[in-house]
Each structure stands twice: as structure tokens, then as C-alpha cells.
Symmetry: C2
Subunit: 226 residues, 2 copies
Amino acid sequence: MWLITAGPTREHLDDVRFLSNASSGRMGYALAAAAREAGHEVVLVSGPVDLPAPAGVEVVRVTSASEMLRAAAGRLDDAGRCDVIAGVAAVCDFRPRVRQPGKPPKGAGPLQVELVENPDVLATLAGLRLPRGEGGARFARFTVGFALEVLGPADLDLEAAEARARDKLERKHLDAIVLNGVETLGAAVARVFWLPRKGARFELPPMTKEAVARWLVSTIEHELDE
Amino acid sequence: MWLITAGPTREHLDDVRFLSNASSGRMGYALAAAAREAGHEVVLVSGPVDLPAPAGVEVVRVTSASEMLRAAAGRLDDAGRCDVIAGVAAVCDFRPRVRQPGKPPKGAGPLQVELVENPDVLATLAGLRLPRGEGGARFARFTVGFALEVLGPADLDLEAAEARARDKLERKHLDAIVLNGVETLGAAVARVFWLPRKGARFELPPMTKEAVARWLVSTIEHELDE
């Protein structure tokens, strides 16, 4: 089973207002569709997006990061095994410490919102498996994350972005990470780099998210076969 | 010309994170389509939504409340005259005081975000006309707003919601206000009350947003004829 997260999360201040980001969910949905077309069983845990469920894919719809983690971890427990975890969702790092009920009326003057850190969905899911080399069964055979960075025009910017993405790969115990630019958010065409744990950076030529998804599926399948 | 605002606004903390709400834009887009079908020239100033431009409607796409106000006020200036202003957008009341560039890395521990009040788009647009009774030309012949309230099951809740909506009507110098429930956000069917400045509350029977839009257009046309 391939477990894929997609879309943004929403972190509510009250019943109306929330913190979020512009993730369209397209990359995650495309990856789910491509994995399904390649014959895999796919569970897609999706934040709020305006996309239909890809054919043959079980979609679990959630709102917040906490719900996403709970839903995804629940699928792991039920399934027993998991081939791939792909954390494509643009999970909000922070949520308001307090969610107020209803829609509080507009107050006067400046307002402070206290934020607290969200659980790291992918790192937590990736950490559910036993450490490498200890002989235990790995829960997911392959875990891949996505890193969203501002990719400047200079090579130095890219080097710095890759360093941050590889740091994330280590911190989250991933097998590979996909680095893409902030301008990718909500766009149809993505600028994408593949960073495997053991191996050099590979830049994909400009292509649609659907094409990136098919490339990722065959690359991950290749890694699983090794 | 009918000037209609629609959708949510997004108030960015940085290039990735923003404050927003779940407005789908459907009510505003439906109103724009219905007004156009009734033969009116329509300009739709729209926050970020996933809806196509209604046929024959000029759509001006914006992100933040400040941009929405600027774009809408700019259309008023260009057009010289305006028949109707309909503020259907769910404009964010507040924005972060500072927008940070890029995507700041996740820090450690709690974080404070300072918010400041946004300009009131509809009140400002409605205020651009001369006060009633001073003999000056009114900029818009009819101004209608929308009030989103938590409508509880009890009549008392509804009375309180109507009082708050009528307060808003006065504060913003509107001719009428449409009261709807928070559960309407993003939904296809709306529970809607029409509150004219001079006249009693009227509850529309449950119907789609498209039907509500057609009802509103003919009601506003009737008011304009009087």
C-alpha cells in the first residue's frame, strides 16, 4: 500500500478564520493517480482541496495537521504493512494555541495570536518504523518527503536550498526528498529536484505535475526493487 | 454597472503562510452571473477561488483585503457611476502587521503573530458616495452587504444575529444586508435572510446559491425601480 498525503492543512483560530497555504493538492493527487495506474493500492490522506478522488484511490479527507497525522497513522495500523509513505502535503508548521468557538466579533486595535508547533506528520509516520540496521521489520519500505524552498536564480541559492532539504531528509528519516520551488505551489508545472539519501541531486526537466508523478512512481518502484 | 466582490481574501504572514477563511466564492460568482443574465454590466472583484469567470463578466483577481479595496475603488473611479455594490466577499478582518519575505524556516517553540485591522472594503466603498439627504449624487444607487453569523437553532440566537447584522448595515451605510449562517461557507445550499434598511426580515426558503442569486437580483432591481 502507498500512503500519500496531499494538499494544505488548515489551522483554525475560530470557526471561520484559519492559517493555511496555497497548496492545491495537485502534486499529491497526481502521485496517487500515477501510483494507482501503476497497479498499487493507494490511500490518499488529503487536506481541503477542490480535487476529485483519483479513480480507484481511497481518499481520507482531513482539515488540520493533527487530523492528518491521526488519519495517516490510523491507516498504517490497520494496514499492518506499507510499501511507500509519500508526504506531499504542505502541512502547516504552526497552529493557534487556542481555537475559539463560533465567529468572535471583530475587536478593536491590534491582536496577538499565539502559535504552537504542529506535530511533524511525515517524521512521525517515518519514525513509526524501527531504526535501520536493527533487524526489525521496517514499517514503510520507502519514505519520501517534499521540501518547499525559495529557489533563487543563483546556483548558491540552490546549494543552500539543497542543504536545507537534505537536513530535513536526515531529521525525518526519509529515503529521498523532492525539492521544489515556492512558485510550484498551486501551479500546473513544477521545477523539481530529486534528492535520494544516497546519491546526487537530479533535476527533472520542466514538465507537468502528472509527468513528475509518473517519473516519481517509476523511480520509487526501482528503489523498492533494489 | 454592478460591482460585486467575492471569495475570501488571503493575508500573508510570508510568501507561503496566510490567514484566510473557507469562502468558496460561489455566492458572489452566482450573483455576478445572475446580474449579467439579467442584462447588467458586471465587474467582479474576486479573491483566490477555483471558479471560472461567469460568461460576460469582467473578473479582477486579487489576493488581500487591501488589494480588493484598491481594485474595487479603482473600478468606481473609472466607471464614474455605479448602480449596485454588492460586498459578498468574506474579507479577512485582520492581517499580520508584518509580511516576512520568502519562507522563513520553522523556528522553535511558540510564536506570536501581531495582527492589525484591515480596511473595511464595503464600508469604504459605500462611504465613497455623498451622505443621503445632502442632495449630492450617490455614487452607488444601491449597496448590499453580507453578514456571516453563527445561526443557532433558537429564535433568540436569530434575533441576536439579526441585531448584529443590522448594526453592520448602519455602520457601513448599506441599503440592505444578507444574513447567512456560518455553515453556508463553501456550501452549495445557503440559509439566507434578507434584511432591508427599511423593512422586516425575510427568510428565503432553502434553495441553491444560484436561486438565491436570481432572487437577490430581482429584489435589488425592484428596489432600484422605486
